[in-house]
Symmetry: C4
């Protein structure tokens, strides 16, 4: 039996012991073989790695440790550490049964109370004063319906197509990073839940799990559609390889994020330390606290290529192997027009859930701005929107105003707190709300939506109708 | 003397005992005769049915039990259950004296504190985020008066006509379901109170009491006007029969609800279990919890025909026996126009008190929309509005803007907490407030109202002025 | 020495004892001589009348009791009642020193904490949901300044003329009823404080004190200007007499209230009982609780002639003895125009402090409405406004927009809590704030105000620009 | 050893003892030599002057007391007073470490909790109801971005020029009075911190420290740019001298405050007593409570010349020795135009942080007003704005709308709570936020800003578009 002091004496690359779930391992020889890189293990050299280990590996893995992963024996009971993570788990209240959850806000409230503080901070935070995050929701609340009555609405259908792929519902699971933080199965559980209800899942470049594992957790690439969200790496060959892998795994489209060359200032996230470094199994990005604090979004985004610009589109196409390209993060009609000119297949109007630039416009404003300035965009590609969509009514409003489909982000993270079952349950809730809205508006299938069913008067006056500011003229500043 | 265990041993259709107010009954032979159906009783087989019993029967009924309803003797005192309902009653604070109530909000506050939680949830709840419910009230608050002074206002008169029938006031008691939940006399007490003050009462298809009983509780069909609210049954002959019965009982008009083919998602109502199944004496609808929760509105509405559409209007007329037809739940100028074209006598602009589709428009918006788009509608039929009307000032504003009369819903439910006297008291309060408003605006009888007495500027810009959206064009989605 | 039981045995008009400050009096013979009427005393027959007595009489009066007011001797000490009023006095916190009060809100906060609950309810209450009261203040807050800088503002002057009479400031003390409720000296203290600072005082028809006493408490009719507020009595000769008396006392103008043919529904006031009947020394109105509650405004207004209309203006002129006539309570441009046509000298745009009809327009809206519709009104008579004016900035805004002067109501009531000194202190505060505003805007005397100094954009769109509603047409209802 | 009574016996100009940090001094002969004037010392005659002493002198000064400052010996330990100031210090919570502060609001929150109440009141207070202060912030929050994506934003640069002088950032440290109140080093620490990050510092006429000391605390006049804020003294030669001194010290421009001929009514400041008189080392202004209360702003501003007007501009130029002149406090397009006509080099659009006239316009409104009415102003001089700028996003919005640079006031005061290091840290935070905003909007250097990057729709309608009010006409009042 070993003591904590014994272990601490072996804390360098040449002699590295770690503690996992009360057992001491000598991992010196395993270091060069670790798929996540040696440095991740070394940050726990001579210490307890249980929490970090469990975040990234199935619990069964240590039953037959890999070569070079040598079990030395148990820790002395009197020295047995209670892992910090475990403590948190103990203090957190139990989750109410899934069937008592009836809307997205229930999932959110429960997540706030039951997940680890750092996870909550990473998922829930938004840029600086949270104004855009609030506007996202308010914009939908301010659109009223003009419901048509006395229609036969006995049967209603929510199925549609996204980029030509069938989907049971006109919404998709927006890409979010590091889903393993709220549930060890992370993206795999999402894929499983999404498959049950036929909703398309967009896998993040910062996925906790490898793409192949995610895809195989659902119904498989033939029976279920997945897309890839892409952050372009400063090391471009890595991106080429990622796209090749994704295509090989059966992913059907690439959503290139264009609004996150740099991470937003998410203060709640910055203030909380990253206590356990986490690493993406896809991008390889690792989070460690730095002098600016613990902002996960910032730390995970350091590899993203800040030079990415319109002229890179042909290169992206060339390495995407023919997959449709969608630009995620368009915020002006002008850029929507450019997207058309550069020949992509779709755009996601998004302010990144209010996480990147505070007072950036709600996607609904951008949607209306395109109608005012370049309505022809809608004929040239598919337009999706995300941010602040929490109800079936919100989804229906977006469709009436020309969106092909909408993305749902944070709510699926909070649903993942309940695993695959939570993901499926959330999908059912939203589908149910959407069907109710359709019936109430006299619409039986999605070909029936149209702008006459909504009243956007309250926000119309807030939307620009030209590329330039209406009366403030541009007096160029001199270059210095 | 019996024990609870004794009773529990007789819990099937062939051998069914129940407990009511401490006495054990063998009701096996009564089951097929129960007007509400055997299943209602069977849900209490072998158990205490006191609460459910009292919700639907006069307390005198058991003095001479019906045939097949056999008294076996008392429960053992040591086993005497304290019914859950009784407990609630005990815990609830006493109601303040009626004369201390001076406005609708007092009735509401007292109801919240004193009625059973499920009843409060059913009556007070509204769709999802309650936005429409709040908008309903706010819309009225945002209309200002333009009061004319220096008029002789010594005497003022509030009497008018609705569909040609005399009424003491320009408002009616909007139809609401299951009034027996707040007061055992339910609709009967409403009829009695309405008769005292000459206000028209619209009886719901989901009335707790039979129409004949309701009508006879007031001044009788010759002295007092009642209308019928109609939900069309998927079993159409039942609707034909209901209309025939209603006409025979002396009801004078039919208000067909057109905005509730499906029930709204009223989350407060869904979350609370239906602990005592209740049943409408008119529609026969019964509420039981199902897998989606305890939403009374949803459960009571399962029989409603979701295929009902404009082409059914001639059939409705044919079975209504010449009674005037009013469509309740119109929410757009376009549908108001259709109502004219289909030849009905009136429309109720309503979003169902915000209970059906959240962010559906306040009726006041729809009223103004009709003025902007199809003002000729006002010449073709009578227009009523409901939702959020809580003050005499609100009533007066609606009349100035062209409404023939307005409906008052929830406030009368809350007034019914005080029985017929409460209903009469609320009517006096509203009439009093209306008279004060008339005097303050220099108007002595209702022929004096006109739009120049109100300023609707704050909401004008929010009302659409065309059938279609002003700048978002309709790009049809393909059918899938 | 007497006991409370002894006194209670003498409780009828033929044998009437009362208790005042611990001394028992036999007032049987005094009853017919009481200037306030026998019934006021009889309501305390056999009981303690201390509180009521002190509300209406100088404390020195009983040193030499009037004839027929017979002192019988002291109450038994063991029986000495602690008068309810006294108790309240004891529980109320002490008032902070006057010099620590630096704005109108301080006076209001202190009044709320220190005056009798019924007095607070009567003064502070407003109609039903208090919307107009709040709008009054908000309307001023939403007007912005456009301050001009770099002007010589070393010396500034606030003096001006109202109806041709000199005043030190462009605001007057608006008429408010029963000022004796907050301070026994009531209107007399107001007159004294007003005289010190040369501000004009409008005496209410429901003044606690006789007009002559009020006038003589200041600098006298030659040195100080008072106006009369008039409620026309259903007993018209009483009004003629009142006007004759007022003129004889030296009052200089008559402000006829035209928006209070009936009292508003002030719920806070209705809910609190009138525990001590109070009586106006001018109108003779007395308040007693009735079946509708204790609303002082309503109870004091029962004598007001509800038939009063434009055709009565010539009669008013005829009995006003040549005094200028001002109509108080105009709320539309249309009525402002009529006021011009009927030849009065001024109008007060007012919604009665939000006390009469809820959602009636803030006076600032009416002021702007007149500019939009009948700007010529400003050339034909003087226009004053009141309601929600709490700051020197508010006063300045009103003047910039064409008001000759503004009325300050409740703040003076709350200042009166400190007697004449409080009245003078409030005047100094407002004058000081006004001077600061003038300097900040680059204006040195009131001839320098103009609309270019304010920005009313936030409320402009809310003001009607025609007599009729802009798009809702009048479809006359038939007379019934 | 002395007792407190001993000291108290020497409390007049002829015999003056004071106590400083437990030592008794006879300062009678020192009185006439005190640079701050004898009266400041005399206000502590016979008493403990420790707090006041420490507010204005380096702690080392008493190691070698000046001539006439005679140490008598220690106070009796049993009598040792705990200075009030020290007590406050003890009660105040400790400041969190500087590196945990991540935005301006953190600095503000910490200042509120940790600085002396009077200091907080003086710095944080604003005019009367604080409406303008709130509007200042809200105006920025209501401007949305129109971010352009897919630009190469790897490198971004924030450097620019103000009045031709290089600066690392497009914001400057706005002048604020008496910075020594929050940190004994006051302006000197600001200069030091500003030098580190190359941000221009504007020194107030009411600086706690002499200009020469301030300048020498930074990198010196050749390496670092300082400007002077000027209040013109009623004693004009003092102003001439001040300008000559400032120029000699190397100050590069003069910002003449034109909106503070009189101080605003800052009620939080008025209510708190000035417990320790403070004196500006530049203007010589001293604060003492007067009958109106303890308003520091008011007390420090008594020397300011209220006659200052446009015709004084030539004189200011004549005594400014060729330094550029900027007018600070312009609030209308009309005055901006006059500034151009009078030939100054710049204007600061400002409502003095909402401290002077409540409901005066946010500078952002004035900026837009100039665009609407006199856009040519932008070609004739430099336009700066201040008030409510708390984020890098706010700075960027102002630049897009034509501001050359912006002023940051209170945040630097609160940062000074941490000395020079706090000042540098705040600058880094704002620069960082600005860089993030630039990247998010696709802008790499400040020549790239333009109005098309912002959406000001929410406030456009609130901005006047003419010198006069749009529909209220000016009816001149007669002069009295």
């Amino acid at each position: 039996m070993y003591t904590l002091e014994d272990i601490a004496a072996h804390a360098n690359p040449k002699d590295c012991w770690i503690l996992i779930k009360g057992t001491v391992y000598d991992v010196t020889k395993f270091l060069p073989q670790h798929p996540g890189g040696a440095e991740v293990i070394l940050s726990y050299a001579g210490a307890d790695a249980t929490g970090a280990y469990e975040s990234f590996h199935p619990s069964s893995l240590l039953e037959t440790p890999p070569p070079g992963f040598k079990s030395l024996g148990p820790l002395s009971p009197s020295d047995l550490p209670i892992s910090r993570n475990l403590e948190l788990e103990v203090k957190r209240p139990p989750k109410p049964p899934l069937h008592t959850i009836i809307n997205t806000f229930d999932f959110e409230t429960i997540a706030e109370r039951t997940v680890a503080p750092k996870t909550w901070a990473f998922y829930s935070s938004a840029a600086t004063d949270l104004l855009s995050m609030k506007l996202n929701k308010e914009a939908f609340d301010q659109v009223l319906f003009r419901p048509r009555v006395m229609r036969n609405v006995k049967s209603v259908y929510t199925r549609t197509k996204i980029l030509g792929f069938d989907t049971g519902v006109p919404f998709f699971i927006a890409p979010t990073a590091m889903q393993g933080m709220i549930n060890l199965d992370g993206e795999k559980a999402v894929a499983e839940g999404a498959g049950e209800e036929n909703v398309i899942h967009i896998i993040s470049t910062n996925s906790s799990h490898p793409i192949a594992d995610v895809v195989s957790s659902g119904k498989g690439p033939e029976q279920q559609t997945h897309f890839l969200q892409l952050y372009v790496n400063t090391d471009r060959p890595k991106t080429s390889q990622l796209l090749a892998d994704a295509k090989a795994c059966g992913l059907r489209a690439v959503f290139v994020t264009v609004d996150a060359h740099i991470s937003g200032k998410r203060e709640a996230d910055e203030r909380l330390k990253v206590d356990i470094p986490v690493k993406s199994a896809v991008s390889g990005a690792i989070s460690h606290n730095d002098r600016k604090g613990g902002g996960m979004g910032r730390l995970m985004g350091l590899y993203i290529d800040r030079t990415l610009n319109w002229e890179d589109i042909p290169w992206i196409k060339s390495v995407a192997g023919g997959l449709p390209i969608v630009l995620k993060g368009i915020q002006t009609a002008a850029d929507a027009k450019l997207a058309v000119e550069y020949g992509v297949q779709g755009i996601v109007l998004s302010n990144h859930g209010g996480r990147n630039l505070d007072t950036s416009p709600p996607a609904l404003f951008t949607l209306l701005e395109i109608h005012k300035i370049y309505p022809e965009v809608f004929n040239a590609l598919e337009v999706y929107i995300d941010g602040g969509i929490r109800r079936g009514t919100d989804i229906f409003k977006a469709l009436c105003l020309g969106a092909t489909a909408v993305g749902i982000g944070r709510p699926y993270l909070y649903a993942l707190n309940y695993g695959a079952e939570g993901v499926a349950h959330l999908t059912q809730i939203l589908k149910d709300e959407l069907e109710t809205t359709m019936r109430m508006c006299g619409v039986t299938d999605l070909s029936g939506v149209h702008p006459g069913l909504v009243n956007t008067r309250k926000i119309d006056a807030l939307v620009e109708d030209g590329i330039e500011h209406s009366y403030v003229k541009w007096r160029p500043r001199s270059k210095i």
